[in-house]
């Protein structure tokens, strides 16, 4: 999938129109403008956009972000774009909790966003709304200006706006937006009169803004789906099969029904669909739902039910450790792989890597292992569904409201536009909130019970039913010539069936390059996990670069900078951008190293590791300082990170993502490992899968944002990629131990 990344406007050549309506004493301006067809949407489909802004007579503003927040800070960034072009006084804005979702039908009868793109994933939410939100803001501003011009009988082009006021050229007179709004809302403006600001005129974009929900968060207000209520709703907790393709062995239905507050039990059937990669994807796990008056009663009912399950015929052979062993064999033994019948794909080939390796002066051959990663969203999944004969209401936190509508339409047969989605703030998403299992369960139960039902998952459910980041074993053979220039790279990867990465550096930088992929037909469910495959890829690639540098007796930073020469933007066919630029990558390495005072010698037992990665249009590099002490104990001392994400819209939140994302990546490298045994997910809760605590995290992560006027690109995922390699490389620098297997905490104490 490729994306338009140009910052040009939507080409307002078609007639635009505005609708107005009264809204609680204030004007609701609904912009409904034909925008540009986006490259990632079906060609020819008019991509329309809309934002909601109420300007009240007292000049205050009510604003809603098109994109819900899950920690990526889009509820702040979205309004910033709009407020910038409107020239709003930020302090006069009140931010609405909810995010209205509007859909229209496309030619295939599927729902798509009627206005701006409300989805969040692939670090694209800001980028997808960049043009829409700015055009909308600029249009509103022009309407207000033209209204003021008409009242003063001067040319609109002579008027100036700032901080929610329109100023007369005489320097004396002014109108607040609130005074103009009601009449301005009825105006029609010419598209060519709508001008976007030049970047150097920005007063909000590029400045540090605080989370718009901050006060509600620190005072514990009910912002999340978990906190949502609905008139007349019942609660459901489901005893699900922890096995792949599992079957119910026994249950104590009577005992469950005797729990006070429990109303009934409902069997939930297993539901599957064919997946894009030829596998069967489970949409709903088989289970027994306990329907009760309260969540606590439902939880007690589930406990009393004592449902016991057994693995299905297909599922019981599934074992994550055995599969990792198989992956090792597949990457190390070409004959075995050839006879295995497992799909083998050459994904990328440039030059002749095999021949170049034969002629290389030095060849390193190393194999890197990564287990299944679990998601562990802090807020367990939940959804309220109220399904009626002709319509449905869904209340949930989900990354893709359009997917919710279409999948619920498919499950119920309801017309998509009769389905309302009410989005709530999400306690994390990390790609897991792409799946709709928790939504479909609520829909099914509401249909069965004939009432609104809220399904709430427990932590054990979330781990048992996770769609993991694929486990993988990556063998890299890299060759250097006599001058220690990298001339050949052969990456061979076997993994749990699922997505894979490869269009990442050092592709394009090494003349002979081969990437091969063996997709093991595992039944273990996989899905998107924050920056899918990037941390894993970079663990192998950036560890190997480090190994090569040490082999060549060169400084690991200098070695990388040399590899990035000549600085050049290469075509990039993968998701996330049309170009991948070695110069922008090099700058991030340099900046991170400069902040870390890279050249300063550290005392014995302390080491610096460096790693960088390109993810979804952005470049990030980190230097990590660790100490390895007595009994091989790891102490993470500090990190320094540099990011080039194009124009920095909100430096405050870019810094926060860089710090948190890198720590998430360190956590994955150190601890994240889910185990499947005999078809059962055996990792059940936080006592079995450790998550990094404050004492284990780097006390400080200093961040530098590379100055850029390029189109803004994502920051939610780019900080993850380099983390595992930076840590492994730092451990090597501190102690001489080369880590090639995650989780690192298996080998080193922390």
């Amino acid at each position: 999938m490729s994306m338009h990344t140009k910052g040009d406007g939507p080409g307002l050549t078609r007639r635009q129109f505005l609708k107005t309506s009264a809204y609680g004493g204030a004007m609701l301006l609904t912009l409904n403008l034909p925008g540009k067809a986006q490259a990632n949407q079906s060609p020819g489909a008019a991509s329309q956009w809309c934002v909601y802004v109420s300007i009240r007579p007292d000049n205050s503003v009510l604003m809603a972000s098109p994109v819900m927040d899950m920690g990526q800070h889009m509820k702040t960034a979205g309004p910033m774009l709009l407020a910038e072009e409107m020239d709003l006084d930020w302090s006069l804005i009140e931010f609405a909790d909810s995010c209205p979702a509007y859909f229209k039908l496309n030619a295939d009868g599927q729902a798509e966003y009627a206005y701006s793109d409300m989805s969040t994933g692939g670090s694209h939410a800001l980028r997808r709304n960049w043009d829409y939100m700015r055009q909308a803001g600029a249009t509103v501003r022009r309407m207000l200006v033209e209204e003021a011009a008409a009242r003063w009988q001067v040319s609109a082009d002579d008027l100036r706006t700032a901080n929610s006021y329109v100023y007369h050229p005489d320097g004396q007179r002014q109108f607040s937006y609130g005074e103009l709004a009601e009449q301005a809302a009825a105006r029609q403006v010419k598209p060519q009169a709508v001008q976007l600001k030049h970047n150097d005129a920005f007063g909000i974009i590029g400045t540090a803004r605080t989370t718009v929900d901050i006060r509600q968060i620190v005072t514990g207000k009910p912002l999340f789906g978990m906190d949502a209520e609905y008139p007349g709703m019942l609660h459901a907790v489901i005893a699900r099969s922890p096995f792949i393709d599992g079957q119910l062995l026994s249950q104590e239905a009577q005992a469950a029904k005797q729990v006070a507050g429990v109303r009934q039990l409902v069997n939930v059937p297993r539901r599957t669909e064919a997946s894009y990669n030829g596998t069967t994807k489970q949409l709903m796990a088989p289970g027994v739902a306990v329907i009760a008056d309260s969540l606590w009663a439902a939880m007690q009912g589930k406990q009393a039910l004592r449902a016991r399950w057994q693995a299905g015929a297909e599922g019981k052979s599934q074992d994550s450790e055995a599969q990792l062993a198989e992956f090792h064999r597949l990457v190390s033994d070409a004959d075995y792989a050839g006879q295995s019948g497992i799909s083998h794909k050459v994904r990328l080939a440039e030059g002749d890597a095999k021949t170049a390796l034969e002629g290389a002066a030095t060849v390193l051959d190393a194999t890197y292992e990564v287990p299944l990663f679990a998601h562990l969203c802090m807020e367990p999944f939940n959804c309220i569904a109220d399904v009626r004969s002709d319509s449905a209401t869904i209340v949930a936190g989900h990354q893709f409201p359009d997917k919710v509508v279409n999948d619920v339409a498919k499950a119920t047969g309801l017309p998509p536009l009769n389905i309302e989605v009410i989005s709530h703030r999400m306690g994390g998403g990390f790609g897991r909130r792409w799946e709709v299992d928790y939504v479909l369960e609520a829909v099914y139960l509401s249909q069965q019970v004939g009432k609104p039902v809220k399904v709430t998952w427990q932590r054990e459910d979330e781990l048992e039913q996770d769609c993991f980041a694929p486990a993988m074993v990556m063998r890299v053979r890299a060759g250097m010539d006599k001058s220690n220039k990298v001339i050949a790279w052969h990456h061979r990867q076997a993994q749990t069936r699922g997505g894979a990465r490869d269009r990442c550096f050092p592709f394009k930088l090494v003349p002979n390059y081969l990437s091969e992929h063996l997709d093991y037909p595992s039944q273990i469910a996989t899905g998107a996990w924050r920056s899918p495959g990037h941390l894993q890829w970079a663990f192998a690639a950036e560890s190997m670069l480090d190994e090569l540098a040490h082999q060549a007796k060169q400084d690991p930073l200098a070695f990388r900078l040399k590899l990035m020469q000549p600085h050049k933007a290469y075509p990039h066919e993968g998701f996330g951008g049309e170009l991948i630029d070695s110069g922008r990558m090099a700058k991030c390495y340099e900046k991170a190293a400069e902040m870390a005072d890279w050249q300063r010698p550290r005392q014995k037992g302390i080491g610096l590791g460096i790693a960088g990665h390109f993810t979804f249009g952005s470049y990030a590099a980190f230097v990590l300082e660790v100490a390895i002490g007595a009994e091989n104990r790891l102490h993470i001392r500090q990190a320094w990170g540099a990011i080039d994400c194009g124009l920095a819209v909100n430096p405050n939140h870019i810094e926060n993502q860089m710090q948190g994302g890198f720590i998430d990546g360190l956590n994955a490298a150190l601890f994240n490992k889910a185990d499947v045994q005999g078809g059962e997910m055996v990792t059940k809760n936080f006592h079995q899968i450790h998550f990094m605590r404050l004492s284990e995290a780097p006390p400080d992560v200093q961040v530098s944002i590379i100055h850029s006027q390029a189109m803004p690109t994502g920051v939610g995922e780019p900080p993850i990629g380099p983390a595992a390699a930076a840590l492994a490389n730092a451990i090597f620098a501190a102690s001489g131990q080369r880590i090639r297997r995650l989780p690192i905490a298996d080998a080193i104490r922390i």
């Binding site: 912002l223 606590w296 948190g660 998430d664």
Partner: protein, 158 residues
């Protein structure tokens, strides 16, 4: 027979038959206090942290029976008034700690309890007190907010 305890400065009574109910579910479902969050149900993650007689405790692992006679404070009762937040909350706002925000009420309650015991906590005391999981990894900013809150509290005392 009823169970009695103090919740955010108010005396509450619950029926003896609910003695095994975890405090977390009483707060969320019977009192409508949704700031205390459910994360794991086994006392690991700390999203449900409240003050129990001034100490930070996981409310998923305290039964109502154990709350008998106790003084319970939740995030909703932490601020002295609507207009004046607790210094820890103010610090969290100024540093702009949260990402998703789900764990932050628990983190704030853990920090506020720590300050009762250690008005000027050492690094070791901070690391010992702050055991709540932040899945977004906001630990760097949590440390900064704790440092800022310590300054604010010192000024309030002086």
């Amino acid at each position: 027979m009823t169970i009695q305890f103090t919740l955010n400065q108010q005396t509450v009574e619950v029926a003896e038959r609910d003695k095994d109910m975890p405090l977390l579910w009483y707060l969320r479902e019977q009192q409508g206090l949704k700031g205390t969050k459910f994360g794991c149900g086994i006392g690991q993650c700390g999203a449900c942290t409240v003050h129990y007689n001034g100490m930070a405790m996981r409310s998923c692992s305290i039964t109502l029976g154990q709350a008998q006679g106790a003084d319970i404070l939740t995030i909703e009762g932490l601020a002295p008034s609507e207009d004046k937040l607790h210094p820890v909350q103010e610090a969290w706002m100024e540093i702009d700690v949260p990402q998703c925000g789900y764990c932050q009420a628990g983190q704030i309650m853990a920090a506020a309890a720590m300050f009762k015991q250690h008005p000027n906590p050492s690094e070791a005391q901070i690391e010992q007190a702050m055991t709540n999981i932040c899945r977004c990894g906001t630990y760097v900013r949590i440390r900064k907010a704790i440092a800022l809150a310590a300054d604010k509290l010192a000024k309030e005392v002086s």
